[in-house]
């Protein structure tokens, strides 16, 4: 079953450069020119994320994405993706924040 929500890690030129060919292939093209990696988010992970980052927001009506995570959190997610070669890294990320 696919996750109900996701986090979009938007790819700047620097982030794109750091990606393997395989990860580039799974990145999505959004809005005619923006590349992003999609990190799946389960319901209970969403709740943990929102309690970790009170200024973040889950847009459950329009985009079904978790938005407004700080840059540092996105950088950490990106590092985990690059290191593991996969995008389902949220549990690893959350385990850093018991």
């Amino acid at each position: 079953m696919s996750a109900p929500y996701r986090i979009l890690v938007f790819l700047s030129a620097e982030r794109l450069e750091a990606l393997s060919k395989e990860l580039r292939a799974v990145s999505e093209d959004l809005f005619a020119g923006l590349r992003a990696l999609s990190v799946p988010v389960a319901e209970e992970q969403k709740d943990r994320l929102l309690s970790l980052y009170p200024t973040a927001k889950c847009d459950s009506a329009t985009t079904r994405t978790v938005e407004l995570l700080p840059r540092s959190a996105k950088d950490r997610l990106f590092s985990l993706i690059v290191a593991s070669g996969r995008t389902d890294v949220l549990e690893d990320f959350l385990s850093d924040h018991p």
Binding site: F10, L34, T63, T65, E67, L68
Partner: protein, 383 residues
């Protein structure tokens, strides 16, 4: 010697709204009878529709210390400067929780409007307000600030007969741009008036300067002709009261000279407290307010249409890529420039410049901005 009552930033904005006619027919802070009528019936005792309380709270201790009394006058001050004069017609205790339920449909303290109401002091002081001088509005907002009288004169000078209001508290993305364009078409307007809400800020919001200058950049770059587009300010703390606040916005923009008001999805909503289209449906239940609501759905990017497409017309439901203000803020937070299709380069450049000049390096409100930004409103020089 008159008693001096210091105003909060938000209360000062409301004084200005009352004294200059933004909130007409209201001329002063509401008394007990008006407040009960607005809370219960969404109407003033005269029967005119008015959906939100406009109130000035004080503690019981302040009432006693300043010797406030019905029939007296109070000098209202802003950061120590004489700002306005209030003639006291009523002083009374109020029930914050009941009013919250009436206005917001909930007393849940997680609702930002409810939370603010529950924190207010236990007494209300009511009566008409008179400004002592025209207040000063800080840069870069000066050229965008118009009183209702001034704005009506500007609309007449431009030869606009039909004017559609676009309420904004965001840097405009192309979804907003298309909301304005579609409202312009739907109302056969001569002009679009952007009425940018400048008020209480929370961490993570766009800085006010980026919002206002971003809208002006759209017209300067020709995406909406300057002859058909104008940016203005409304000094107001959002209540997030959903449908009731939509009606309030309609009344204010009518006072500014608008003939139409665009309402999109979840206007003035927050979280999941209101149905996304409740702020559109409420107008079905109301008499003619003297301003016509223009009800619009969302615009999104559609790769099949290869452009921005209207939800109500585009049949590519699975392919359409909706974008929200939050999503675009996330793109900016990630340090990435959004594609021109969803945020115009000129708007992006303006936001970056505003970050450097006013935002302490960020387009978003942070602790430094909250602490050190120059106040938007200051008392004017007394004659």
């Amino acid at each position: 010697m008159l008693p001096r009552l210091p105003l909060s930033r938000g209360a000062a904005s409301e004084c200005l709204g009352l004294a200059f006619g933004f909130f007409a027919p209201l001329k002063g802070f509401m008394g007990a009878t008006e407040l009960a009528s607005v809370g219960e019936r969404m109407r003033l005792p005269s029967g005119l529709v008015f959906p939100l309380p406009v109130i000035l709270d004080v503690s019981l201790e302040t009432v006693s210390d300043l010797g406030l009394r019905t029939g007296g006058q109070v000098l209202l001050t802003l950061r120590g400067q004489d700002f306005a004069l209030l003639t006291v017609e009523d002083i009374f205790r109020w029930d914050r929780e009941t009013l919250a339920r009436q206005v917001y449909g909930t007393a849940d303290p997680r609702h930002p409007g409810v939370r603010r109401m529950l924190r207010r002091a236990e007494m209300l002081i009511a009566g008409p307000v008179e400004m002592l001088a025209r207040p000063k509005v800080a840069e870069p907002f000066t050229r965008f600030f118009f009183t209702p009288l001034e704005l009506r004169a500007e609309i007449a000078r431009r030869g606009w007969r039909r004017v559609v209001a676009h309420q904004s508290r965001n840097v405009p993305h192309t979804g907003h741009e298309w909301l304005m364009k579609s409202a312009w078409f739907a109302s056969e307007a001569d002009g679009v008036l952007v009425s940018a809400v400048v008020g209480e800020k929370r961490e993570g919001d766009y800085i006010d300067e980026a919002i206002v200058l971003g809208h002006a950049a759209l017209a300067r770059a020709g995406y909406l002709r300057p002859e058909a587009h104008m940016t203005s300010l409304l000094l107001w703390d959002m209540h997030y009261a959903g449908p009731r606040e939509a009606v309030f916005h309609a009344i204010v923009r009518k006072n500014l000279g608008c003939t139409h008001h665009m309402f999109g999805r979840d206007h003035a909503g927050v979280g999941n407290y209101y149905d996304p289209y409740a702020s559109q449906r409420i107008f079905d239940e109301l008499p003619d307010l003297g301003i016509r609501p223009v009800l619009i759905q969302e615009w999104a990017y559609c790769p099949k249409c290869q452009g921005i497409a209207y939800q109500g017309l585009c049949g590519h439901d699975l392919e359409r890529q909706p974008f929200s203000g939050s999503l675009i803020r996330s793109i900016l937070l990630d340090g990435v420039q959004p594609p021109g299709l969803i945020m115009r380069k000129e708007v992006f450049d303006t936001v970056q410049a505003a970050s450097a000049e006013f935002g302490f390096g960020s387009p978003f409100v942070g602790p430094e901005y909250l602490e050190r930004r120059h106040p938007v409103l200051e008392a004017g020089a007394l004659r």
